[in-house]
Each structure stands twice: as C-alpha cells, then as structure tokens.
Amino acid sequence: MTTITARAMGQALSRVDGPAKVRGHAPYAFEQPVDRPVYLYPVEAAITVGRITGIDCSHASAQPGVLGVLTHLNAARTSAGASGELGILQSDQVAFRNQFVGAVLAETSEIARYAAGLVRVDYEARPHDVVFDAGRRDLYKPEQLAPSFPMDTDKGDVDAALSSAPFALDQGYTTPRYHHNPLEPHSTIAVWADGHFTLHMSTQGVHVARACLAQVFDLDPDRIRIIAPYVGGAFGSKVQPRADAVLAMLAARMVPGRPVKFQLTRQQTFSQTGYRPPTVQRVQLGADRDGRLLAVAHSCTAPTARIQEFAEHSTRSTPTLYATPNLRTRQRLAKLDISTPSIMRAPGEASGMFAVESAMDEMAIACGVDPVEFRIRNDTDTHPLTGLPFSSRNLAGCMREGARRFGWDQRDPTPRARRSQGWLVGTGVATALYSVFRLPGSASIQAHPDGRYTVSIGAADIGTGTWTALAQVAADALGVDLTQVELQIGDTNYPCASEAAASSGITSWGAAICEAADQLRHALADQPGGQLPPQGLTITADMPENPYLQQYSMHSFGAQFAEVRINEFTGEIRVPRQLGVFAVGRIVNPRTARSQLLGGMTWGLSMALHEHGALDPRFGATVNQDLATYHVASNADVGNVEVHWLDEYDPYVNPMGTKGIGEIGMVSAAAAIANAVHHATGIRVRDLPITLDKLLPESRPVTATS
C-alpha cells in the first residue's frame, strides 16, 4: 500500500457546504422542490401485540382532500423476504406498539394528519412480553453482531485468576434505552413513475438503502434512484431504511407520478427509527499487588425485537483494552415484543466502555494506584486476544498528554475532598477506544482536458464534513490542487459506496478514491504520448484489499478527562470541563475533525447526565417521546470542551493513514464523568443516567452556601 502525500489533507478548511447551510438553502430530503406533492400521515398500532380485526376508513376517506387510505387490505404486496420491520401492511398482525398499520394520503399535511386520526382500527390484543431483565431464562447467544469480532471470547482461566487475585472486583452496571433524535426527523419524498422509484431520502448511505428497498419491492436496483446530498443528522438511525421509507413507497404506488412526502413527527421517531438498546452488564476484574490486571471478564445482556434481531456488541472492544492473561466476554439477548433497536453512535462501545471504564476506576482506587497510571501500567503492545501487534497504539501517549493538559498531577485522590461555594468538585478519567472499520465500495474519477477532475462516489455527508474532507483526500490522491477537484456524493447515480457509519467513511471512500487515482495514472500512461484524450478519461475502481489486515490489529485510542461539580443541597450536576486527547491517525481536516470529536464528547455528557428512554411495560413503548421529556444536552449543559490529538502516522490502515473519528469522541466520556462524580461525592453511580436524585443528600448538608 502506498501512502499519499498530504498537501490538502491537514488543512483546516471551512466547510464547502457552509454558505448554503448557514442560510438554510442546502435542501434536505423533505425540502426538495417537487410538483403537486401528496402528503402522507401514518396510522400507528394502538396495541402492543395482536391482530387487526377490522378497519373503517369511511370517515377518513370522506374528508375533502383525502386521496386514499392505505391499509394491509389494499397495499401493494412486497417481497416475502421483506420480513421484520420493513414488512409493513402485509398482514393483519401487530408485532409492536406504534407499528404502522395504515396511512392517509391527502392534498395537504393538515388534512392527512387529521384524517389519519379518523381511521378506526379494531384489534384483538394478545398478551405482550416487553420487560427486559438479565435474569430471564430465554436469553440466547446471537450468532454474529459485528463482522470480524467473535461473539464470546475466552483466554486463560478467569475464575481461577479472580479467586486468587489480591484485588478482585465484581460489579453490575446498567445503561438505559437511548434515542438518536437527529434534528431532522426521518423524511422521504417518493415518486413512482414508469416503473421506477425516485426517492429523496434522509439516509446515511444511498446504496445501502437502495439495495435494501430493491429487495423489499422485488425490483432491480437500477429501477430505484436515491438522492441525499444533505442529511440533517443521523447517528446510526439512518443507516438502514426503516418502515417510514417503505410506507412512502407503498403510498407512491397508489398515486403514480405524484411525489409522496412523508416526514415522521418527533414522537414517531421514537418508535420507528430504532434506538440503542438498554444493557445490564457485569464486569469482573482481578489485579495483583502492583496494579496489574490478572483477569478481565465482561458480560452484557440486552433486549432485541422479536420481529427482527439487532443488538449492540457491547463487549466487543473489551479484549482490546488492556494486557491480561485471563479474559472472558459474553453477550446475550432476549427477544421482546418491541420495536427493533438500531445502530447508534459508538454502537457497543458507548454502553460497554461505560461499564469497563467505571470498573477500571474502581479497581484503580482498590489497588491504590492513580487512575491514569493504572491504565498506562496495563497498556499492551500486542492484542491481548489475538497476539497481533497494533498498527498504532498511543493510549499511554494520550493519557500522559491529557493528564498534563488537564492538570491531573494536582489531583488529591481523596473523594469528597474539594468544595467550591456549595458545590463538590471532582475529576475523572477514562480510556477511549474504537476500532478501524472499512467497508467495501468504489469510486470514479473523470479527468477533464482542462485540468479539472470530477470525483463521484455514492457517499454521504451527515454532518461529518464529507463534502470538504473527502475532496481534500481526492486532491491529494490525484496530486492536484483542491480547486481542480469537483466532488459528487449522495446519489445512487454515483458509484456504489458504503454508508457513513462506524467511523469508516473517509477510510473506505478515501481508499477507493486513492485506488481510482492510481488506476487513472496508469491509464493515462497508457494513452498515446501520455496525453489525455479530448473527451477526457473516466476510471472507476473498487477499494482494494488491505494486505495488513491479517498482520495488525487496528484501533483508535484516546483519553477522556472530566471535571464535575455537584450541588451539596440538591445533587445537581454540572460539567464545567471536558478534555479529550485522541490518537486517531491522520487528521484530514482539523476544523471539521475537531467538531466531530467535541460533538462526540458532548454526546457522552448527554448520555452521562440526561438521556433515558422510559419504556412503559403496559404499552411497550417509550413514554417520554418528545424533546421536552427526552432530554438531550442543551447549550447551557456544556462547559469548556477541549479537543486535542497526537500526531500519529499509521502506514498500515489505508493510503491516507486515517483511523476514523466519528465515534471515539463519545466513547468513555460518560465513564470519565461518572468517575469524576465519584471523586466529587464518594458516590459510585453504576446506573446511567447520573441524575440528581442519585446524589441528593438524604441528611442535612453541613457546609455553607454561597
């Protein structure tokens, strides 16, 4: 693998889509101009499990402006292979609360929504099973959750090591249900004309979405075009198409030629677009008298949907963390009558690393070793499970640099030792880790005689900065000035590329572009006189295999620090400072990269303090299904967020040397906060979120107020 020379890469360019976005002119899916739109509003199941015994559409149909009512009785048949959540309106069965059971098409959104409420659906409910707990007897081991990571891992004899370890810890941790809540609710405009679908869709991957929807509708993929130049946030919820896209397409079949517009309400996104499943975790650690780990065991149980399996692999990164002779991970699921979870930012690591890095803090305290030193002491040169060397691993460097910048050496480790004007103050640290993922795809480059290059790839910009950073990669791949490069993304008319997920975008798309640039150079050399023909030259290339994949273990690392303040009377929590240092390979664009990392850290804060989807067992759905009751961090919740990175050269990951930055900013940020809360108060909160009731003094505070 040849690495490319960085000229455009490394420049802190502002976003090329910035001027359009600050005016609001960048068109998101629902905003694409279309003629004579039809508005769609769904009917949602009012039972949790059972079947529909009757539907009366007469009141809805009688409303002026209603064009049709879609139910399982008149909807087009989709593929038998379209099982799970996408197989909507194909039978009278209801598999989870709020599942789509119908829809109204109307001339205006007001008419569609009101008429949908007039559709009368009668049900026969069956008992439902929605309560998850780790003691269930029907837990099972899923076959595979993420490629290239074994579901369960075993090394050495964990139990023996734990029983003889001078220091041993065995603790439980839980995380609740989390909802993505991108500010742009899932949206689709679907047109069915001449046997073809055209979809404007809010998606993280136009090609992934097309492949899936083509299967649902038994269509050749060439008969579906998906366009998504701008996506208003996604965070995993827009990787796989959800039932809202299928519903819009079923509706489009009813009104050929007319564009059907469908945007979920905020409330509907809570039941229709997936969520991070809650977890119940157990971490066991053993350490010797020098604070070296003798055993690490991590198990996680989580619910999934009966209708379709999805689970986070919360234990997948645990084996990569620290040197240990004995290691065990377990992942188990329970199938429930609930909507299907989905990928959510740092899937697995967000929940799993909260548990492990909280336990590491507890163990450091038990061993009497400083938490930063404890992590450095247990660092490793080779992967503890596979024995492979790391392509690059700068955990210790991140820890030392972070400690220096944070002022860690001033820290008195005694809990509950610092106060300021009625607030207890504490600091905490945690290790961040995310693996380097690469997903197959291709890219094409057209060389124009005037010296311009058109780079086309069915990639996505979900706020990650692809429009800017991938153009920088392309310029360096071609060895030309950035002004010579025109990037085209977000359309299935461009070459098949992977979704913007798993921090793999630049890694995967960039590698394909580098390959296309290489092939273009060879093709040019083959031209007579090495001259570009008058009509230009177009090369399409696939991302090549990486020969180092079998030789190195590839991951990003980081160190998360946090300072918290806890009100002594009320238990209110503030986080005035977060600091992260990351070793994530080459930074393509420092400006947009910093944004991704600090956005991730704020996600960690939001996870630590605010977010909690409350599932009501009687109904099987999230009760707090809006932004007034499902809290995400507001501006006032965020203090100083400092993002730093180490200059890191990794020649093994890809030609750019990038390792991915979308997720790692979030990983363990919640653990750093939880650890700081313990330092401030002496209270170890093992169940997220850390709300004030968990820190509220039962007895009378003794200190002065301000």
């Binding site: 005016r23 205006t108 500010l183 208003g232 905020r266 991704q596 600090l598 704020t602 809006d626 006032a636």
Partner: protein, 173 residues
C-alpha cells in the same frame, strides 16, 4: 377552513389562502417553498424553526398563520443582505459552529436576535441578581450568558462548544 392572508417573508410579500390549522412554519415550508426554517419537533422544544416575527425571535411551528395576517418574518436566508452573509453567518462558518446544518438557520436567527435582546438590557436567567446583563457594549458577553440565552436551540450534533465562541466573536466585534 381556508382563510386569505398576506405575510412578508425576507422582504417579499406573499398573499395566499391557508387552512386555519396551518402553522407559519408549514406555510413557509410547504406552501411557499421557503425552507430555511426547519421542522425538528413541531412543538417548540428544539428551536430549529426559529424566525424573527416583527423583529422578535419566535418558534414558527407554534404560530397559526391565520393569526399572523400581515406579519413581517425574517428567516436566516433573509439575514444575508445583497448576497453578503450576515456577520453571524460568517462567524458560524469560521468557528465550524454546525455539522449537519439542520438546526443552523434557527441557531443563527436566534443568535442575532439574542444579541439584540441583550443590547436592549433584557436580563437572562444567567444574569446575576440586581445586575445589568453584560452586553456587546459593556465589555462583551460572558459565555454562560450566551449559553443560557441560546438554550432554546438544540443541536444534536452538539456543536455548542463552537456556537458559543462564534457568537461571542460577533458580540465583541
């Protein structure tokens, strides 16, 4: 039930007939094709739909169009004058104060209006009791004042730590 109304948006007058149920936000987005204000929650819980209504920042998702016949509305698109971006827009780009961009027009309208509120002496919950709020003219705004005053605009990409300095810079200019 349809009613005829007239509204001015970013300097252009529009006459149209709207359902009494239609909000100002849906009037702009679905009737007039003016999509600068965004729909994030439709319940006044996120701020993505923020526009200036007769000079004040408001959530357009909770305004019934029928009740705002004759209103003067400014969106983020209308803050740019003669094709030149408003200083707040330039500052948001410079500080990378957004990622996906969906909340951004609302953030920017809110930020511009908020600086006007502070300059008019309006306090916020972050203003110490008995004090006048720090304003652009009285030595700049404290970050906690900016944060509190901007908390009606959620950003799920969580660009807050860039939004605050972007606004501070304009406040100090």
């Amino acid at each position: 039930m349809d009613v005829d109304i007239s509204i001015r948006v970013d300097g252009d007058t529009h006459r149209l007939s709207v359902d009494t149920r239609t909000t100002v936000l849906d009037t702009l987005r679905e009737r007039l094709g003016i999509t600068s204000p965004k729909k994030g929650c439709d319940h006044g819980q996120c701020g993505a739909c923020t526009v200036l209504l007769n000079g004040r920042r408001v959530n357009s998702c909770l305004l019934l169009a029928v009740a705002h016949d004759g209103a003067e509305i400014v969106t983020a698109a209308g803050l740019a004058v003669d094709g030149q971006m408003h200083p707040m827009q330039r500052s948001f780009i410079e500080h990378d104060a957004f990622q996906c961009g969906y909340c951004t027009p609302g953030q920017i309208v809110s930020a511009v209006a908020m600086l006007g509120e502070a300059a008019a002496g309006w306090p916020s919950f972050a203003t110490p009791a008995g004090e006048q709020p720090a304003t652009p003219d009285s030595g700049g705004m404290r970050d906690d004042e900016i944060r509190e005053r901007m908390s009606g605009n959620l950003c799920r990409c969580a660009a807050y730590a860039n939004i605050v300095p972007a606004i501070r810079e304009v406040a100090e200019a």
